[in-house]
């Protein structure tokens, strides 16, 4: 199942990106969420509490990888910092080592939305590029 072919999921990724305020050096922060399977077998998104400038803490999952009683099939979060920020600091754009570790420990795939690209982390923590953010989230870019 290609989760990013689901308009509802893509809309939530797009909303998380907008809410990250990537263009505001003071307000930029990480957002994220779990992609879950609803009781009617449709997919939904359970958003996480707002993160910090460069990290975010996902809510705990239960032993069955469920959250709020729903099976979690993937996670996503944003990387709002630019390659080089306004003060000259350089930021990794792709998944960090702690991102990879988090996904590997939970055997859970995920997506990272950055300024230019959307990355995928598989359950073994391998990283691939899905495509350009503007294109992957094109149907739901802010209007």
């Amino acid at each position: 199942m290609d989760l990013l072919a689901n308009p509802a999921i893509v809309a939530e990724l797009s909303r998380a990106w907008r809410e990250s305020h990537a263009d505001d050096p003071i307000a930029r922060h990480e957002e994220g969420g779990y992609i879950v399977r609803n009781p009617d077998l449709s997919y939904g998104v359970e958003r996480w509490p707002r993160g910090g400038q460069s990290r975010i803490v996902p809510p705990s999952l239960d032993a069955n990888t469920c959250y709020n009683g729903k099976a979690v099939v993937a996670a996503f979060h944003t990387h709002p910092n630019p390659p080089i920020d306004e003060t000259g600091r350089e930021w990794e754009q792709g998944p960090s080592e702690s991102d990879r570790r988090w996904h590997k420990r939970r055997k859970l795939k995920g997506f990272v939305v950055s300024r230019t690209l959307v990355y995928q982390i598989d359950a073994s923590a391998n990283i691939s590029v899905i495509g350009k953010r503007d294109e992957v989230l094109s149907l739901w870019s802010s209007s």
Binding site: Q53, I56, H79, R89, E90
Partner: protein
């Protein structure tokens, strides 16, 4: 008295100072010997995604060559 410092530890402290805004004292640290410099990687422990940094430090004078912050 002559005080001998471990160069690797001095390099580590330089790396810590250079990335102090994004690392934590409890972060896991790895080091990769790259010949003329060390590459230190700080990896946060716990359940957070992001954070940490990769810092390159010159061996000869402990100059900071590069800092890449994780997110």
């Amino acid at each position: 008295m002559v005080l001998l410092l471990n160069p690797l530890l001095e390099g580590l402290e330089a790396a810590r100072r250079a990335a102090a805004d994004v690392i934590d004292a409890n972060d896991e640290v790895t080091v990769d010997d790259q010949g003329d410099h060390w590459l230190f990687e700080f990896i946060p422990r716990g359940d957070a995604l992001g954070g940490g940094a990769r810092v390159s430090v010159a061996k000869d004078d402990f100059r900071i060559l590069k800092v890449i912050r994780g997110q």
